[in-house]
Amino acid sequence: MAISEPIIAAPAHRDQQLSRTWGQPPGFWGWFKNVHHTAIGIRYMVTSFIFFLLGGVLAGILRWQLARPENNAVGPDLYNQIFTVHGSTMIFLFAVPMMFQGFGVYLVPLICGARNIAFPRLNAFSYYIYLVGGLLLWGGLLLNTGADAGWFSYVPLSGPEFTAGKRSDIWAQMITFTEVSALAVAICIATTILRHRAPGMTLNRMPIILWEKLTIAIAVIFAMPAVMVVSSMLLMDRTINTQFFNPSVGGDVLLYQHLFWFFGHPEVYIIFLPGTAIISTLVPVFSRRHIFGYVPIVTSVVATGFLGFSVWVHHMFATGLPQMSESFFTAASLMIVIPTATQFYCWMATIWHGRLQFKLPMLWVFGFFFVFLIGGLSGVMLASVPLDWQVHDTFFIVAHFHYVLIGGALFPMFAGLYFWIPKFTGRMMDDHLGRIHFWLFFVGFNLTFFTMHFLGLRGMPRRVYTYTPEMHWGTLNLLSSVGVLFMTAGVLVFLVNFFRSKRYGKLAGADPWGAGTLEWATSSPPPAYNFLELPTVNGREALWDAEPNQPIVGGIREDIPEMLVTNSLDSEPQYKEEMPGPSIWPFLTSIAVSIAFIWSIFSPWGIAYGAIPVTIALIGWLWPRGKSPTPRYDNPRMEKSWNG
């Protein structure tokens, strides 16, 4: 059976068998035992979107307070908590969980042509840990214990002398939770991409989105430990009398900044590169051609991931470091523009030589082009040390990073959501409402953030809860706050659109866009087992390059969760592996780990005593399962092929 034809109706008995093998177990606890990537991916996307809405509400409160000089809607203490939790939510609880974890966990196994993600229980565990981290931060905010030292929580302000109570400790442990979650997902995704690709999907034929997810996974593995270390050092300084950041006894406040930004800069590429991958996925589909410059784009993606580790000091230009070393980082920060520029030109060439169907996701793609570019170019300004000396820590920076993060991640995210929600839910979103959403959001966004460039140039620093009327910052701030109304309206339109189309939208079918990657080779939404027949691949766009008789993978058992393991480079089949099935242990382990981490906020003994339930849970998790017995079949020919 050729995979170029959408597979909609599966033979009933195979569908039943496979669904039993791969699907969610029945009952209340079935939800907690589910280890299938599509379920976990949906949870990530829904949860992170809820955090996006919550973070947006906080932003609205910030802009309300800043709309007029000497406003007293929110006092300084609450304002500090709000902007800290806004930033932390958007970065740790929304951007990475949505762009990398949500899209990654859902799409990567499908695009690889596999039935599930590698290490499925670790993947499920990562979601629960992320959820607890998010609840911890927000629980803190709602109980007046919100972190209040900024999303990067510099010492000494967040340290033991200047932040009383548990605010910084809650921030530090939220970091631990979300970074453990991201690390776990990185391992799962990297392994899936390297070892579970469909036969025929050599590295040279891998979709760009898989290249990007692999790069990001490796970036996460190198970057996240830095922030875990630094947040743990902060926690230890605050609770057990270590002196890492106490200058009078040999500690160093700049150490914090170096460690934090060594993570912090790759973090923003961890958020931005998935955006570019979505663009690289959508542009070919809506230009009806293979992407132009596959090799340059892949090289650019990998180079950006790599170079992202070489630029962190550009967040510290104002600290008085030696000028020679700062210039090095200017050079590196300018150099990192080159891969992104290359990608832009390749996209432009793809559209230029294609047939552009300006469907709804493409509207958002063009929004990305125009919005992100402003942010990227203001980034060139900021790479330059003398310019950064003037505008660092002002609203110019706020404008820059919102342009690159919203332009570079949020616009592609909405593009991706409009593109893939038909796959997730089986129904198309309304085109007209989607366009209204776009224009409301585009206008509101530019109104809010473009004005901030001017505010920065006028001398308005960041993180101020108010300003005096003599500064003449009032009108621009008011305009900026008005823009929030438009953005909110746009997001509300999106929500209305989503809920309505989930019920009443046009049925999508397997492949409503005529796309080329493998997730479109199965029904919408995909069954629990992803593909009835596991595909093989013949080119960079699997569906477009498939032969009329493209082979399928046979010999994989359907009564146990078995997956094919392939070679990293050429994707040659190597062996079959029985994957873990649904299990309650990820959930129980996440509870044990949460107890240990949360207890440690209040007492250092939390780690010691909390290790006991964690050990028990891990023993349960890792308890060896025997191999499933080989099945017996009446048909000797079948038996030979299963055991051969």
Binding site: G159, E161, K166, I598
Partner: protein, 177 residues
């Protein structure tokens, strides 16, 4: 699990209060300070002292620490070790360890060299210093007591100070129960 989370954070409600313009407890409380170890009745059980609300707020205690430093309590008492003045991190309280006693010490002064800070230190700040002084001997729970300052002094932070049970109002050892 959510309940656990909630429970652990809820205990922090009072700990996290930050009153930036506090009004101090009524000064009537210091008039009921106990300066004698004797109580009427056969077993001489003292009534429990009224609490110092500032002892429940980590911010207030950290403000007390800042004020202890900046109003130069350190000059005579060091960081609890004492010098010209008696140590504050031990269990020996010459004039009583209850919050009202310490407040009276600060505001009224004491014979043998403790100045009176009446009118010089606002009352709510005096109560904050009281809370901090009690933390010096480990009398405050560890999640409220401050951690170490970014300074050079080698003593356990108030948070990790083992509790020094006060020896009663007049500094004499308590009668065994």
């Amino acid at each position: 699990m959510l309940l656990l989370l909630g429970a652990m954070i809820l205990t922090g409600c009072k700990r996290e209060e930050r009153d930036l313009r506090p009004s101090p407890p009524a000064s009537v409380t210091i008039n009921t300070a106990q300066v004698s170890g004797l109580n009427p009745g056969a077993n001489s059980v003292p009534p429990p002292p009224p609490p110092n609300i500032y002892e429940e707020s980590a911010y207030s205690v950290s403000e007390g620490k800042r004020l202890y430093d900046q109003y130069n309590c350190v000059g005579c008492h060091a960081h609890g070790g004492g010098g010209i003045g008696p140590p504050l991190m031990d269990n020996n309280w010459i004039y009583g360890s209850e919050p009202q006693n310490i407040f009276a010490t600060i505001i009224q002064g004491r014979p043998n060299g403790m100045p009176s800070f009446r009118n010089r230190i606002p009352e709510y700040q005096a109560w904050e210093i009281v809370a901090y002084v009690r933390s010096l001997s480990g009398l405050l729970p560890s999640d409220v007591a401050p951690a170490h300052n970014d300074e050079l002094y080698m003593k356990p932070s108030e948070q990790s100070m083992p509790k020094q049970t006060p020896t009663g109002v007049t500094g004499q050892p308590e009668k065994s129960q």
